[in-house]
């Protein structure tokens, strides 16, 4: 068996107003992959394709070693999928849904389901129509998690949740990782969630993957340099610098390929490096999207 839980190779899909362009994506077993990008970037389309819900125009998709969408029925026994547009039966109770899923999936873990009920503060005897948005999200995740699938694919699992519920969900997702054979792919525009729990990050914008790599290595490439510049000099853009903001003698440069030599290189132009700061994923997100949009305008 391949050591990849998910593999997308040259995947393309064209809609009238949107194109998913040559997507290459790999998620190794035992890792959490966070998919981030602005609204309309192609996160959900990518997820629908890898779940076999949308057929790609071109390219290969393998999930847990199965070709998608051709082998989706076999693959789905081991995949837990949750997205915002999933609907539960309004007139039925959560307990009814739990029984229903248990009757289909032999791996259903009843004690774990009971534990999740308690942790998420849900009542099994309550009907779905009486649940709030956050409770519905938690109910959906409970039904998916208690199956203990080898792969979890979650589209925006924390959107609309209060901080306590968010915390619970993230805790359960990281708990999944105690078992090395299990993997998670989740999308979010909450960069804090992605920064906190993912092993790898894939950054997608306008139907293209901008970056896909190890999270720590990714964060480590980005820095904000604060510099003091001699009067009348404009700070030059060195290779690896994607943006400079300067007024008067103070400048802030953003690096997406930071190397310690950059500081020396700037000092040799006569500028003085006052500080070098790491950036949060949110700051990187904004800088990256601004940069890629600027390039598109320039091109």
């Amino acid at each position: 068996m391949s050591d990849l839980a998910i593999e997308l190779d040259g995947v393309e899909k064209t809609y009238p107003f949107f194109t998913l362009d040559r997507i290459h994506l790999q998620v190794p077993h035992g890792q959490i992959m966070g998919l981030i990008g602005p609204n309309g970037a192609g996160k959900s389309t990518t997820i629908r394709i890898l779940m076999g819900l949308v057929q790609q125009d071109r390219g290969e998709v393998r999930v847990l070693g199965r070709r998608m969408p051709a082998e989706q029925i076999a693959a789905k026994w081991d995949i837990g999928f949750a997205s915002e547009d999933m609907r539960l039966y309004e007139g039925m109770t959560l307990a009814w849904h739990m029984d229903f899923i248990r009757s289909i999936y032999p791996n259903w873990d009843a004690p774990y389901a009971q534990l999740l009920l308690k942790r998420f503060g849900l009542r099994a005897e309550q009907k779905i129509k009486g649940l709030s948005h956050g409770q519905r999200v938690k109910a959906t995740l409970l039904l998916v998690l208690a199956r203990r699938p080898r792969l979890l694919v979650l589209d925006e699992p924390t959107t609309g949740l209060d901080p306590v519920a968010r915390h619970e969900i993230l805790k359960e997702l990281t708990a999944v990782m105690t078992d090395e054979g299990r993997s998670v792919l989740f999308s979010s525009h909450n960069t804090q969630d992605v920064e906190q729990i993912s092993d790898r990050i894939t950054f997608i914008d306008r139907g293209r993957i901008i970056d896909s790599m190890d999270k720590e290595a990714y964060l480590d490439r980005w820095r904000r340099l604060r510099l003091e510049v001699p009067s009348g000099m404009a700070l030059p853009a060195l290779p690896g610098i994607i943006g400079i903001r300067q007024d008067g003698r103070l400048a802030v440069a953003t690096a997406n390929a930071f190397a310690p030599e950059m500081a020396n290189a700037y000092e040799s132009t006569g500028a003085r490096v006052k500080s070098i700061e790491t950036m949060t994923l949110e700051e990187i997100f904004v800088a990256n999207v601004e940069h890629s949009r600027e390039q598109e305008v320039g091109a």
């Binding site: 009067s231 903001r245 300067q246 003698r249 103070l250 040799s268 949110e282």
Partner: protein, 133 residues
């Protein structure tokens, strides 16, 4: 005149302190000179996308320290004090020295030995610059 004002999310200090520091830096390097008008509280809040109350707090503290003056209807200005920029530079140096002394104290290094270490560091830097030339 505030485009290089950047608030950092990884900086653990409160935002008003970051704003104070960046204003002081502008005065220290001479971009903002004595008596010069500086952005209004509201304008800076808009530029930095932070709340008015946060910028107000920074301005109040700076006023208390005698760095700026705010007058009803006239807005805020850099204080008209000769040598203010120099004073702010000295203050920053003082802060770093205090920090060094505090760290040395934690390591059991006395100020006299710290001074010797400082001299060595200075010598090394001179040598390095000599090499580059």
């Amino acid at each position: 005149m505030s485009s290089s004002f950047v608030i950092s999310q990884t900086d653990k200090r409160p935002i008003y302190l970051q704003i104070m520091e960046q204003i002081k830096q502008r005065i220290a390097v001479g971009d903002w000179t004595e008596g010069e008008a500086i952005p209004s509280i509201r304008q800076l809040a808009v530029d930095l996308q932070v709340s008015v109350i946060t910028v107000k707090r920074a301005y109040l503290e700076l006023e208390r320290e005698g760095v700026i003056v705010t007058q009803q209807g006239r807005g805020s200005h850099v204080a008209s004090k000769p040598g203010l920029g120099m004073r702010l530079q000295q203050e920053e140096l003082e802060k770093h020295l205090e920090q060094a002394v505090r760290l040395a104290d934690l390591l059991g290094i006395r100020p006299k030995d710290l001074a010797a270490r400082l001299r060595e560091t200075g010598d090394r830097r001179m040598e390095k610059e000599g090499e580059q030339v």
